[in-house]
Amino acid sequence: MKNDRRITVIIQSGRGSQEFTFPQQTKAHDAANEAAVALGYPPGGAYVLVRLKTGEELEAERPLVSYHIEDGETLALSETGSGV
């Protein structure tokens, strides 16, 4: 079934890089949170993924599949937030 398909991406961050496999329907913020914890960021933070190929910031509620991300593509993870 299409909804069972999975996608493998490389997620890079300031704290390291790791390969992750998610169901294609995973929302961007769920993928970001899972990767954040795995890469050593504190749980419960606000994180964002950027598609390095296009520079596009993934919207939190959109599923990964809606971006047509290719298997093996690289995403960048960071904390959201602003200066003061």
């Binding site: 890079q12 961050s13 300031g14 704290r15 390291g16 890089s17 954040a36 960021y41 504190p42 933070g45 606000a46 994180y47 950027v50 390095l52 520079g55 690289t74 960048a76 960071s78 904390e79 937030g81 602003s82 200066g83 003061v84």
Partner: protein, 142 residues
């Protein structure tokens, strides 16, 4: 410091940063390019006392090495203060103790105020994100 630089190496390669560590003098600089207008920025982190204290970030002009003036800094968004400095708790220069705008922050608390941005890689990455932000980045400050 070295461990953090190694951890950020894949990200640095993806963004094309030219990272120059000077471990003897506890500084590291990264040259990065804005995806919005192609401007090149050089940002240096001075890490004496790190991590008891946050690094001291300074922008350096890529053409003549001038340091810390408006023309060295990007503008726009909420991080780049007209002092000029990167106005965030992980930058020592933002604290009034060293001439920054904030008298209301305690430098000793920097690690807990933004727990998702406590490594050099996190910090350089946020700077890159800011200069790539099409809705907020405004080119050079001066």
């Amino acid at each position: 410091m070295q461990e953090e630089l190694e951890a950020m190496a894949p990200l640095a390669a993806s963004y094309g940063w030219d990272v120059v560590p000077d471990l003897e003098n506890l500084t590291v600089s990264a040259e990065m390019k804005s995806a919005v207008d192609g401007q090149i920025y050089v940002v240096e982190a001075r890490c004496d006392g790190y991590k008891a204290l946050p690094p001291f970030f300074e922008f350096i002009h890529p053409e003549d090495g001038e340091r810390g003036t408006h023309r060295c800094y990007p503008a726009g968004g909420t991080f780049f203060h007209s002092t000029p400095c990167i106005c965030v708790q992980w930058n020592r220069k933002a604290y009034q103790d060293v001439g920054g705008p904030h008298s209301d922050w305690k430098m000793a608390d920097w690690m807990t105020s933004r727990p998702g941005t406590t490594t050099l890689g996190d910090m350089f990455h946020l700077i890159q994100r800011e200069i790539n932000n099409t809705s907020q980045y405004r080119g050079r400050m001066g």
